[in-house]
């Protein structure tokens, strides 16, 4: 991501959620179909590689902590946090140099990278 800042990242997360949540029913929650579209279109590399998140129905149940059949933004933000943990772990697994603190590509996988910041292809220290 070009000029990655916290604010830009948070903007993208909120905007992406709304892009799908406004389609059907309550404009501020995701129903199963919306969640599936969001994952397929916006997280194709991340969810593919995160085995435990593959099943959308299971994922919905997992995130829908108030059990109303929909995922609101607070519930969705937990998925973002889990993916941030998971991609960080992957960056260390993929690190070119295990002896120092370095990162390889995250959940997007090798060869699938290019977020345009020069990061993700190993910064050794």
């Amino acid at each position: 991501m070009e000029n990655c800042t916290m604010e830009k990242a948070l903007d993208i997360i909120v905007n992406t959620f709304h892009h799908y949540s406004t389609r059907v029913g309550n404009p501020d929650t995701l129903v199963k179909g919306e969640m599936k579209q969001l994952i397929t279109k916006e997280l194709p590399n991340f969810i593919k590689n995160a085995k435990d998140l593959q099943d959308v129905k299971h994922l919905m149940q997992e995130l829908d902590t108030n059990q109303n059949g929909q995922v609101d933004f607070k519930e969705f933000s937990m998925m973002m946090a889990r993916l941030t943990m998971a991609t960080h772990e992957k960056m260390h697994e993929n690190a070119p140099d295990k002896d120092h603190h370095s990162h390889g590509p995250g959940l997007e996988g090798k060869g699938g990278s290019s977020c345009g910041s020069g990061h993700g292809h190993g910064h050794s220290h």
Partner: protein, 91 residues
């Protein structure tokens, strides 16, 4: 090719390391490093919350070791993204 959302998630990892790798443990922010992160990345959020750096430290430093680790940083991002979402409806 990673999507915009995927890059935003990777960016959150990058933001933490921008400050954590400037010295000390690579996965911990000292009070000084954390202060810089708050000032540079979260200025609006910190302004609105009216909390000081030590107050934020106290709130986020769950294991009370005097440092903010990556998991503790994620708690801050959760708070911020939830507030960001609420603000988006006020605009």
């Amino acid at each position: 090719m990673a999507t915009k959302l995927e890059c935003a998630i990777n960016c959150l990892v990058e933001v933490f390391h921008k400050y954590s790798l400037t010295g000390g443990h690579p996965h911990a922010l000292s009070r000084e490093q954390f202060g810089k992160l708050l000032e540079k990345e979260c200025s609006e959020f910190t302004k609105k919350s009216k909390k000081t750096v030590p107050e934020f430290m106290k709130e986020l430093d769950i294991n009370q070791d005097g440092f903010i680790n990556f998991e503790e940083f994620l708690i801050l991002t959760l708070k911020m993204v939830i507030e960001h979402h609420e603000d988006s409806h006020k605009e």
